[in-house]
């Protein structure tokens, strides 16, 4: 009885699930926002602030799409510096980075908060952005900043060498694969059929 059920139902179902179902592709749609808060600057509380001759701007990811299967590198945006002076300008403040996710489920939250320290000039930088290295889970999708320059810090480069620092992160899916869910469902269905037939015969 059980072998016949396996042959007639479970095995073809398993084969069908394994062959027909596509390889898992957890498509993640997200965007980022950043807020710089600082004392002694103008524009505090926005994504672009000015310290005297220096302007620091966060360029967010407006519409990122990645396949987190199970993990992928992704960008969390860029920080751009412009400065018209060769004199060093000290910077201080915080930078709050948030994620807004629209797929596979909708959700948003703060990813990490960084501290700005050091100084910048048009041709010199000792400025770093140090994060706490925390993670954010939105409906089974986990975000974590990565690719730090050292420790948990990103360094900011001066305008004379480009002035752009990209922030990288890892996006990881902890959602179960469709194949797993299909096989599990077929297994339970098969067991149900067997139990039902046994009870009817009894």
């Amino acid at each position: 009885m059980i072998p016949r059920v396996l042959i007639k139902f479970a095995l073809p179902a398993a084969a069908l699930a394994a062959i027909v179902l596509p390889a898992q592709a957890t498509t993640v749609n997200y965007s980022t926002t950043g807020v710089i808060t600082c004392a002694g600057c103008t524009g505090s509380g926005t994504d672009s602030v000015t310290f005297g001759p220096l302007t620091m701007t966060y360029i967010p990811i407006a519409a990122g799409t990645v396949n987190a299967n199970p993990t992928t590198n992704a960008s969390a945006g860029e920080i751009r510096i412009t400065d018209t002076s060769t004199a060093n300008t000290p910077i201080n403040g915080t930078f709050a980075l948030s994620i807004n996710q629209t797929a596979p489920s909708a959700g948003s939250g703060p990813l990490d908060s960084g501290t700005l320290t050091g100084s910048l000039a048009s041709n010199n930088s000792t400025a770093i952005l140090t994060f706490t290295d925390s993670t954010l889970n939105l409906g089974g999708i986990e975000y974590q900043l990565d690719s730090f320059s050292f420790g948990t810090s990103y360094v900011l480069v001066p305008p004379s060498s480009g002035g752009i620092t990209s922030l990288e992160m890892n996006v990881t899916s902890t959602l179960p694969e469709p194949t797993f869910m299909a096989l599990t469902a077929f297994g339970f269905a098969g067991m149900g059929v067997v139990a039902f037939r046994r009870r009817r015969r009894a």
Partner: protein, 206 residues
């Protein structure tokens, strides 16, 4: 007599000299450099195509040209960026080496390179691409360039985020800082003042 003379001298010469020296612009060791990149997969070009069957992915290095930074005693700087371009939905494996060339024209003319290994795969929307350097420090004259590569290497992002661009950061440090012009100016004025005093004393004694 000497006190009077010295006081006058201070007012007439030393104080303006110090003011002049203070007015000199802040100065460090200006380093001018450029970077180039070459992929072994392309036979040494700055752009390489990786293939898997009919799928392919292109990696391009965008270097820094004649960047001038004040590296005294140190500064962060860019070494360039790498862009991933592909429309493939199948993971295209990366491989081979990437050589980062640094050409310095000031304060001295030197050049050298650092070698990295490419690993991982990329699709248009996912990437495990990684660039890890076997050595991260290069000294050219009195300037040491240190790549600030993360522990696992630079992580390359897919084209669907930030247009596939990953920046490479480094640190420049001067090993034997050149004395600043302010130092030379003050020292020069000091010796000139001493010379003047000696000359006046010598003339009076004659």
């Amino acid at each position: 007599m000497n006190n009077g003379k010295l006081g006058g001298l201070s007012l007439k010469l030393v104080v303006p000299a110090i003011a002049f020296a203070m007015a000199l612009p802040a100065h460090g060791t200006m380093v001018t450099y450029s970077t180039t990149g070459s992929f072994s997969a392309s036979g040494g070009g700055s752009s390489a195509v990786f293939t898997l069957g009919a799928n392919n992915a292109t990696l391009s290095f965008n270097g820094v040209t004649n960047a001038t930074v004040n590296a005294s005693p140190m500064t962060f700087a860019s070494a360039g960026s790498i862009q991933v371009q592909t429309a493939s939905t199948t993971g295209v494996p990366l491989g081979g080496t990437f050589t980062l060339g640094i050409s310095q024209t000031a304060p001295s003319s030197n050049s050298g390179s650092l070698l990295g290994n490419l690993t991982g795969t990329v699709t248009f929307s996912s990437s495990s691409g990684d660039l890890e350097f076997t050595s991260t420090a290069l000294t050219l004259g009195d300037v040491t360039y240190t790549l600030l590569a993360p522990g696992g290497g630079y992580e390359l992002v897919p084209p669907t985020t930030n247009n596939g661009v990953t920046t490479l950061e480094m640190m420049l440090a001067v090993n034997n800082p050149v004395p600043e012009p302010t130092f030379f100016a003050l020292t020069g004025f000091g010796f000139a003042g001493m010379g003047l005093l000696v000359f006046r004393r010598f003339r009076k004694s004659v």
